[in-house]
C-alpha cells in the first residue's frame, strides 16, 4: 500500500489550476493545496499574490450557489490570504526568519492538512482491502426447487369443497342519509297537544322515542318558539337535570306587561 502517490507530485484533479469546480474540494485548505501542488510551487515560498488571485477567482462563480456555512469557510481563507499579502507588503527586517514570516502559520496548516490526506489514503487502502474479505452468510441460499407439474383432475364435489372454504364476503356497509325528517312545526303541534293534556311535559318525551339528533333539535326549537310566544315556561332545577315544560299562564303574563306599562306612564 503506498499512501503517498495521490496527493503529491502531479495534480490528480487536472492540469489547469484556474478552472476548478469547488464541489470537488472538501474545503479551502484542499483547494489551496491543489493550487500549490498543481503548479509545482514550493510550499515554503508561496507566491501569496498569485495564489490569492487564483483562489478568489475560483470562488467568484460558485460562491453564491454555496450553502452559507461553506461559503463562509472559503471566504475566511480568502481573508487570511489577503491579510498575509498585506503583511508581506509592510517593511520587514532584512533577515526574516520563519517566526516572523506571516505565511508560516498558513504553511503549517497546509502541511498538517496534507499530512492527514496521507492518512486518508492509508485508510482508503485499508477499507478497500477489508472489502475483499467476506464473512459467512453473504451468498443467498439456493432457490426452492421448481414444483413438479401435476395433472389437474377435479370433480364438481372437489370444486365445491374448495369454494365452501372461501369466506362469505361481509355485507357492504352502506351509509344512507336519514330518510325520515321532522319539522319544527310537527314538534310544536305535538307539544301543544301534550300540554293541553298534562300539567307538565318532560323535554325528553319530545324526542327520546325517536332517538335521533334531528328530533332533539326540532324539539328544542319548538320549545324555544313556544316559550317566546309565552305559551309555555321552561324549568330546570340545576344544570343537566331534567328539563320540564309547563303551560305558560298567558293571562298572568299579559297582566304583568300591562302593569309595567302603567308604571312607565305614571312616571
Amino acid at each position: 500500500m503506498s499512501p503517498s502517490a495521490p496527493v503529491r507530485g502531479a495534480s490528480p484533479r487536472g492540469i489547469e489550476p484556474f478552472q476548478v469546480s469547488l464541489e470537488r474540494f472538501e474545503g479551502p485548505l484542499d483547494l489551496l493545496l491543489h493550487l500549490i501542488r498543481s503548479q509545482d510551487i514550493d510550499i515554503f515560498d508561496i507566491p501569496i499574490a498569485r495564489i490569492t488571485e487564483q483562489f478568489v477567482r475560483a470562488l467568484e462563480d460558485e460562491l453564491e450557489a454555496m450553502p452559507i456555512e461553506r461559503a463562509g469557510e472559503f471566504l475566511e481563507m480568502a481573508a487570511t490570504l489577503v491579510r498575509i499579502k498585506a503583511q508581506l507588503l509592510l517593511p520587514r527586517p532584512e533577515q526574516p526568519d520563519w517566526e516572523e514570516d506571516p505565511r508560516a502559520e498558513l504553511v503549517r496548516r497546509l502541511l498538517e492538512y496534507e499530512h492527514f490526506q496521507d492518512v486518508v489514503h492509508v485508510l482508503e487502502g485499508a477499507e478497500a482491502q477489508r472489502g475483499r474479505h467476506f464473512a459467512k452468510g453473504y451468498i443467498e441460499g439456493r432457490p426452492l426447487p421448481a414444483l413438479a407439474p401435476v395433472e389437474l383432475q377435479l370433480t364438481l364435489v372437489d370444486f365445491l369443497a374448495v369454494a365452501a372454504r372461501i369466506p362469505e364476503p361481509a355485507p357492504p356497509i352502506v351509509m344512507r342519509p336519514p330518510s325520515q325528517t321532522v319539522t319544527v312545526e310537527e314538534k310544536v303541534s305535538l307539544l301543544r297537544r301534550l300540554l293541553a293534556k298534562t300539567k307538565r311535559v318532560s323535554f325528553d318525551r319530545l324526542f327520546k322515542p325517536w332517538g335521533t339528533r334531528a328530533h332533539a333539535v326540532a324539539a328544542l326549537l319548538a320549545a324555544l318558539e313556544l316559550a317566546r310566544q309565552q305559551a309555555l315556561r321552561i324549568e330546570q332545577v340545576k344544570p343537566f337535570a331534567s328539563i320540564w315544560l309547563l303551560p305558560g299562564d298567558r293571562k298572568q303574563a299579559q297582566a304583568a306587561a300591562a302593569a309595567a306599562e302603567t308604571a312607565e306612564g305614571a312616571e
Binding site: 499512501p3 503517498s4 496527493v7 503529491r8 472538501e26 474545503g27 479551502p28 485548505l29 484542499d30 515554503f44 456555512e69 461553506r70 469557510e73 481563507m77 527586517p93 533577515q95 526574516p96 526568519d97 520563519w98 517566526e99 508560516a104 504553511v107 503549517r108 496548516r109 502541511l111 498538517e112 492538512y113 496534507e114 499530512h115 492527514f116 490526506q117 496521507d118 492518512v119 486518508v120 492509508v122 485508510l123 482508503e124 485499508a126 477499507e127 478497500a128 482491502q129 477489508r130 472489502g131 475483499r132 474479505h133 467476506f134 464473512a135 459467512k136 452468510g137 453473504y138 451468498i139 443467498e140
Partner: protein, 214 residues
C-alpha cells in the same frame, strides 16, 4: 476433543468477530490464552493447506473471512455487497480522530478548515467514533475517539496497525526541518556579514538549551 477444533467450530459458526474471551465461553477448559494459541495453530494450518479463508483479527476480535484473492468470484453473487466507501469528509475526520485520539470537534475543524459537526454526527450514528470523555476548558467540550467498529471496518488489529506519523511521507517532519534550515541559513548569513542584530537571534538560546539537554 481438541481445543483447536472447539475454537474453530465457534469461529466458524459466528457471523461477527469474537474476542478470545468470548470464544473461551465455549468450554470450561478454555481460557483466552489457550484460545489465542489455538487460533495461531489454526492459522498456520490454514496457511499450509491453502484454505480459501483465514482467521483475521479485527480490533480485539477474531473472525473467519475469505482470503482477498477470492473476492472476484464472490462478487458475482448479487447478495454479496460491494466494498463500502466512506465519503472523503468522513475519511478525513476519521484520519484526524484516529491520530489525535482523543480530540474535540474544534480541533478537528482547525485541521480540516471546515465544519465537522454534521460528519461527526454521522460517524457517531455509524458507531465509527464515540465520545470518550470531556476536555478541559470552556464548556468542557466532548472528546472523540475511534471505536472497535472503526478497526473492524478498516480491518485493523489496533491503531498501531496504522503507520506512525513519521512513517507517512514526512510532511510534518519536513516542516520542522525546513524551519530549522531556514533559521540556520539566517544565522549563517549574519555571521558572514558580521552584523550583530539582536532580533533574529532570538531562536539561538533555545538551540543552545537543546544542545545542553542532549
Amino acid at each position: 476433543m481438541k481445543v483447536e477444533q472447539i475454537v474453530e467450530a465457534t469461529l466458524f459458526a459466528s457471523q461477527t468477530p469474537l474476542t478470545a474471551d468470548e470464544v473461551a465461553r465455549a468450554d470450561e477448559n478454555l481460557d483466552a490464552e489457550s484460545v489465542v494459541g489455538a487460533i495461531q495453530a489454526l492459522r498456520e494450518a490454514y496457511e499450509e493447506s491453502e484454505r480459501a479463508f483465514q482467521i483475521y483479527q479485527l480490533g480485539d476480535g477474531y473472525q473467519i473471512l475469505t482470503r482477498p484473492e477470492y473476492a472476484p468470484y464472490l462478487e458475482r453473487f448479487d447478495s454479496v455487497p460491494r466494498a463500502p466507501h466512506l465519503s472523503p469528509a468522513a475519511l478525513e475526520t476519521l484520519a484526524i480522530v484516529a491520530y489525535r485520539n482523543p480530540i474535540g470537534r474544534i480541533e478537528i475543524e482547525e485541521v480540516r478548515g471546515v465544519s465537522a459537526s454534521s460528519v461527526l454526527r454521522t460517524l457517531l450514528d455509524w458507531e465509527l467514533v464515540e465520545v470518550v470523555g470531556r476536555g478541559e476548558g470552556l464548556g468542557r467540550p466532548l472528546l472523540y475517539g475511534v471505536t472497535r467498529k472503526f478497526l473492524e471496518h478498516f480491518g485493523l488489529k489496533d491503531l498501531t496497525d496504522l503507520p506512525a506519523p513519521d512513517e507517512l511521507p514526512v510532511v510534518l517532519g519536513e516542516l520542522q526541518q525546513a524551519m530549522e534550515a531556514e533559521l540556520e541559513e539566517a544565522g549563517a548569513d549574519e555571521d558572514e556579514e558580521g552584523v550583530e542584530e539582536p532580533g533574529p537571534k532570538e531562536a539561538s538560546p533555545v538551540k543552545e538549551a537543546e544542545e545542553e539537554a542532549t
